[in-house]
């Protein structure tokens, strides 16, 4: 009995040992999805691939059904060798199908690593779509209904008012005919307008004189304030902040992401205009940045507008060019100098070394760009009189610089190039910055 038990126990022990062995060996062979995910992230696979969506490379879900494991291992580790040395027809076809955007070489991954990654792709849970967020597009549109209703109401009430006034008049006339004694004061001589509103003898003066006098007073005030209004408001678009066709946020791009203004307005140093970027510039980032995580898997509606304008198909093949039916975006111009005034960006930015903010304000803090300065001539002239120009190594100011140096050597402290605080000050005005024909011709 006793040895028998040992034998039986031995059996059990051996059985469990065999099982343990087989389990551990099984664990070694079995692809490890967890490790696969780590490798997937560590090698930035996600910069070119997504599981359920085509990015630069194809969507990876179901890749194990499209190719054999050996094929995938060879492809991932060195697709170039696979294509060029082994001349695998499937590999060459895949390369050409994806716009010949060659995949990087990952010889740092062992075949077991690649199998782990495939396991991760196989076992990754399908994306769960959250409850659809209904974006109310109706509220985005300009709604004029309220205004039309108000106008209609005003019209109706005016008609009612007129009718009531007529009724009242008729009733009065009827009443006066019946009881003329109650309406005697109506028959008394009528007082003039000025007699009513002016006290005593003032009201009895010649109405023509009084009329002219009051016109002079009222007209004087109107002219004074009207002139001020016309000069500071009419044709001055300070505060203009129109809604643009794409809700581009300068606060996000220039502020939070610290993009240099010149990344988009690239011609500002070379041209009269600080260029509005071509949509191709947007695509440098927005080919990849689609903010799908914020819009429940959908591409952001604003970014979709870029794609629509370019006729670009985000689901198309890698390296695919834009379509043949583009619709350029009509941005709304904010800063607008009259046609009779000349302004050149390169002159101010490259030669004058002015920052964008000098004229445009803190654009990097604006969600919607607003015109911060009046752009009136007086505003231009103020700066031309007061701005200190960096004249060193500035060929445009060379002559003025030499002249000032000579003048200071001759006149010492009495030179006209000293400003009130005793420092040398060279301004655009000294270099002809106030001449009419510099800006008006």
């Amino acid at each position: 009995m006793f040895p028998n038990m040992i034998a039986r126990n031995m059996k059990v022990w051996m059985l469990s040992a065999v099982m343990a062995l087989s389990v551990s060996s099984y664990a070694q062979d079995k692809p490890n999805a967890e490790n696969g995910k780590k490798l997937y992230d560590a090698n930035n696979c996600g910069s070119c691939h997504a599981l359920d969506k085509k990015l630069v490379g194809p969507a990876l879900r179901g890749v194990e059904t499209r190719h054999s494991t050996e094929w995938l291992v060879k492809w991932v580790r060195n697709n170039e060798k696979f294509r060029k040395v082994d001349k695998d027809p499937d590999a060459i076809a895949l390369y050409n199908d994806n716009g010949q955007a060659a995949m990087n070489i990952f010889e740092n991954l062992t075949p077991a690593n690649v199998i782990d990654i495939i396991e991760y792709i196989k076992t990754a849970p399908a994306p769960v779509k959250a409850a659809t967020v209904v974006v109310d597009s109706g509220s985005q549109k300009e709604d004029n209904t309220t205004m039309y209703i108000l106008i209609l109401l005003v019209a109706i009430f005016s008609v009612v008012l007129l009718v009531l006034a007529r009724v009242q008049n008729t009733l009065k006339r009827v009443a006066a005919e019946k009881h003329p004694e109650d309406f005697e004061h109506h028959n008394a001589p009528k007082k003039g307008f000025f007699e009513k509103i002016l006290p005593g003898k003032w009201g009895k003066m010649n109405p023509v004189v009084l009329t002219l006098f009051s016109i002079a007073i009222v007209g004087g005030f109107a002219a004074y304030y009207g002139y001020g209004f016309a000069i500071t408001e009419v044709g001055v678009q300070k505060g203009y902040a129109p809604k643009q066709p794409i809700a581009f946020s300068h606060k996000l791009h220039a502020g939070d992401l610290k993009l240099d203004c010149k990344y988009c307005h690239s011609t500002v140093e070379e041209s009269k205009q600080a260029s509005i970027p071509a949509l191709n510039t947007c695509m440098n980032c927005h080919k990849g940045v689609q903010l799908t995580d914020k819009y429940n898997g959908e591409i952001s509606p604003e970014i979709k507008k870029i794609y629509a304008a370019l006729d670009y198909n985000p689901e198309g093949k890698a390296g695919e060019q834009y379509g043949s039916n583009p619709k350029p975006i009509r941005w709304v111009r904010i800063h607008n100098l009259p046609d009779h005034a000349y302004f050149n960006h390169s002159q101010h930015v490259k030669v004058g070394k002015q920052t964008c903010q000098t004229c445009h304000g803190a654009i990097e803090k604006m969600e919607v760009v607003q015109q911060k300065n009046s752009l009136q001539m007086g505003w231009c002239i103020d700066c031309h009189r007061n701005a200190q120009v960096d004249v060193a190594n500035n060929n445009y100011y060379k002559a003025l610089h030499e002249k000032a140096k000579k003048d200071i050597a001759n006149n010492q402290g009495k030179s006209k190039y000293f400003s009130a605080d005793g420092k040398v000050k060279l301004t655009p005005a000294m270099n002809g910055g106030l001449e009419c024909s510099k800006c008006h011709y």
Binding site: N43, N44, C45, G46, S47, C48, L55, V56, Y95, Q100, A101, A102, N104, F106, F193, K196, I197, F229, E233, V234, G235, V236, Q237, K238, G239, Y240, A241, P242, K243, D256, L257, K258, L259, D260, K262, Y263, S266, K272, Q273, I276, A278, N280, T281, M283, N284, C285, K287, G288, V289, G319, P326, K327, P328, V332, R333, N336, P338, D339, H340, Q371
Partner: protein, 209 residues
């Protein structure tokens, strides 16, 4: 009584009328003489009616194919945006004038490259910090991949874009592209303590095709 009412309503109407021409929000306000504000001639960013002659109603047109704007004659690049073109670009070398000395490469790098690749090329720019999925497979310019990457291939990438990176041909002139490449290679060599910045000034522009 009536007179006071007239004055009250009159002034309300007048102020309403006046405030209508003050620019704010979507309203640009009134103008004295719009025909003095808006050029009759075509201007690049004129906010006028749709252009009746040009395609898409735009004032600007693309240059005629095969023409070169005055002062814009630059290196010609014949390789095409294909896998073969990318491989062939490895044979290109930078022109002699592309050096680090004038600082142009660094200046342009800081405008056009830092948003993603960071000021030292560690892929730590603000855009990459926010959208990590855009990062390339290599870690930074100190990576062997960039150190051994031929300059010509970088030129091809700047010209046509690669993977998530778009084409920067419209913002970087060919001369500037080479200078930026020199600066990228300089940053790459700075990545390790042993390497020192060497800029070959005797290399010449390779003839392709």
């Amino acid at each position: 009584m009536n007179n006071k009412l007239y004055i009250l309503f009159g002034s309300i109407a007048a102020s309403a009328l006046m405030s209508g021409c003050v620019s704010r929000g979507n309203n640009p306000g009134w103008e004295y003489a719009p025909d003095m504000y808006y050029s009759k001639g075509y201007e690049a960013y004129n906010q006028g009616d749709s252009n009746l002659v040009n395609p898409y109603g735009m004032n600007m047109r693309e240059p005629v194919a095969g023409t070169v704007a005055v002062g814009k004659l630059d290196y010609k690049y014949n390789l095409e945006n294909t896998g073969d073109g990318y491989e062939a670009s490895a044979n290109l070398t930078a022109p002699a004038e592309a050096t680090l000395e004038d600082g142009r490469g660094q200046y342009m790098y800081n405008i056009y490259c830092t948003p993603c690749h960071g000021s030292t090329g560690n892929n730590d720019g603000e855009v990459f910090k926010k959208v990590t999925t855009l990062k390339p497979a290599w870690k930074g310019y100190s990576d062997e991949y960039i150190k051994t990457l031929p300059e010509g291939k970088i030129y091809h990438t700047l010209t046509y874009g690669k993977n998530n990176m778009g084409s920067h041909a419209s913002v970087l002139s060919p001369k500037d592209r080479w200078k930026v490449i020199k600066y990228v290679k300089y940053l790459s060599s700075q990545g390790t303590s042993t390497a020192s910045a060497t800029v070959s000034s005797d290399s010449t522009m390779a003839k392709t095709n």
